[in-house]
Amino acid sequence: MGKTFAKPEALSDQHTHYCPGCTHGVIHRLVAEVIDELGIRGRTVGVAPVGCAVLMYNYFTFDFMESAHGRAPAQATGIKRVRPDLIVFTYQGDGDLASIGMSEIVHAANRGEKITTIFVNNAVYGMTGGQMAPTTMPNQRTTTSPFGRNVEEVGMPIKVSELLASLQTDAYIARQTVIYPKHINRAKKAIKKAFQYQLDGRCFSFVEIVSTCPTNWGLTPVEAVKWAEEKMLPYYPLGEIKTPDKS
């Protein structure tokens, strides 16, 4: 037990700024544990998003850079192409990746960039105050869909993992969640696999994590977990969506 709870070397001592019930902290920890276990801290470069995780570089102990809203995959491409020996990952939310940065993620995936993307999907813009995201659920109320997401007007939520999996280029694409303890191990396995594919120079790797945002959803942390389970998971099923081994 003691070992499990020791702080990963890749994680800094700083307390996170995240709200109670937010899953970013857990996902950060999983990423840090994987980096420790793979022994790649000294050659990893993280690319932070614009979104609630904009300050995530404060919580890690390896090279990090900030990106503009949505552009992290292009930036990671720049790093990886000139320094293929580095391990490069982006960490992005749904507004960042699935809206303003849709072009960058699709093309990075389609080029088969040997980078890893952790995609945190909580169905809402967190940072800017709970506005509608491309992944917001049908009828979900947000500050810019006060009457609920009207799919007649703004379409259905985008299943980014499935969309990327439809590209013909090899990739590792998985969707997991961390809302219950039972999910955490599976999420970590997926993250580790994603980094391993990059280490092996295999393919683009992408892990979507279905997450919660109690503050902007207006739910208690416990209710938020339930909401994610009941509303999001049926629409965003968990599991490996694409592996390079199968193609």
């Binding site: 801290r41 000294g42 050659r43 990893t44 470069v45 690319v47 904009v54 300050l55 570089y57 890690f60 102990t61 390896f62 090279d63 990090f64 850079m65 900030e66 990106s67 503009a68 552009r71 992290a72 292009a74 930036q75 990671a76 491409t77 720049g78 790093i79 990886k80 192409r81 000139v82 320094r83 020996d85 580095l86 072009s103 960058e104 699709v106 093309h107």
Partner: protein, 356 residues
């Protein structure tokens, strides 16, 4: 290696390689696509990297990423594409990263046209993106100069940890002239381990590097901006370049002109001299920093009666010329900005009207 006949666009691509920059990301746009076409063949020959991005927006961040990783990197584009890159350029300036951007200008606004223009002068020199920052901007007037400035751009970008722009126009890109690549312009990249996110192992360090432009504390952000300003002030001290033409004569009119337009003006100066009318010219080779003192001093010449900013834009450089002349002379503007380059005859007629 002696002289070779090259298009400006090709020469810029070759010059970057000669300068030791082997990383190029780009998106095609007329009239500079030849750079990408040239480098897509040439870079693999020298073990370099060529990647066509999905948009100019993405390209600007590929540049950012590569620069942050500590490698020399550059891109080329033309006016509408540069506008799209301006977001990334702002971040690159804020993060204090060295990178080189080439703008082979075409007519605007909007889609405008593909013919040569100098319509992005204000964009390049006064603030290409959001926030308080400047680029070091060099404006070549020949293919040879385009090549030399490209080679010089990399060490300058590294000296200041700031983006450097080559501001050419469609004609500079499309024209062929003999060009010679001078090996003595080749420079080694500086040590970037102090700040590059190139992996701790690369540096043999346990200290991580962080690259960002986000400063939440207003006092810290103010300090950051003062630090940037100090760099731009230092550029004003150390990097101003210009050419003075016929400035020893008793010129009645002073022309200020740069790039392709200055070539036309030079012919006008020669012809007017043959007719007995002396005209001087200051040709800024850096437009930021602008040769303010040189223009001001030349305008104060004892025989000088008028100053003209002659440009392929609607009086953009005019503002810098007026600032430099400080009211000592009337400052006039002449130019065209639809893609048609004013002819020497048109310039001559205009200058004659000022001398009368």
């Amino acid at each position: 290696m002696g002289k070779v006949l090259m298009k400006g666009n090709e020469a810029i691509g070759e010059a970057a390689i000669r300068a030791g920059c082997l990383n190029y990301f780009a998106y095609p746009i007329t009239p500079q696509s030849e750079v990408a076409e040239y480098l897509s063949r040439r870079l693999p020959e020298v073990g370099g990297l060529f990647l066509q991005g999905e948009s100019e927006v993405a390209v600007s961040y590929m540049i950012l990423g590569a620069a942050a990783a500590g490698e020399r990197v550059f891109t080329t584009s033309s006016s509408p594409g540069i506008s799209l890159m301006s977001e990334g350029i702002s971040y690159i300036a804020g993060m204090q990263l060295p990178a080189v951007f080439v703008n082979i200008m075409r007519g605007g606004p909007g889609l405008g046209g593909i013919l040569p223009s100098q319509a992005d002068y204000l964009q390049a020199t006064k603030g290409i993106g959001h926030g308080d920052f400047r680029l070091l901007v060099m404006a070549p007037a020949s293919v040879q100069e385009a090549a030399e400035m490209t080679m010089k751009a990399f060490p300058l970008a590294e000296k200041y940890r700031n983006p450097v722009m080559i501001l050419g126009d469609g004609l500079i890109g499309q024209m062929m002239e003999p060009v010679e690549f001078h090996d003595n312009l080749k420079t080694k990249p500086v040590d970037k381990n102090g700040w590059a996110t190139n992996g701790m192992d690369t540096r043999g360090s346990s200290q991580r590097n962080l690259i960002r432009s986000l400063y939440l504390d207003p006092e810290v952000l103010n300090r950051h901006n003062l630090e940037l300003k100090a760099k731009y002030d230092r550029m004003q001290q150390e990097e101003i370049r210009f050419e003075a033409v016929n400035i020893d004569s008793d010129y009645k009119v002073l022309i200020v002109s740069y790039g392709t337009m200055s070539r036309v003006c030079r012919t006008a100066v020669d012809q007017l001299k043959a007719e007995g009318l002396e005209v001087g010219m200051i040709r800024p080779q850096t437009v930021f920093p602008f040769p303010e003192e040189a223009v001001g001093n030349a305008a104060a010449g004892k025989s000088c009666r008028a100053v003209a900013s002659i440009e392929m834009s609607m009086g953009q450089m005019l503002e810098d010329v007026q600032r430099s002349v400080k009211g000592r002379q009337p400052v006039h503007w002449f130019g065209k900005c639809g893609g048609e380059v004013p002819t020497p005859e048109e310039v001559i007629e205009f200058v004659r009207s000022l001398a009368r």
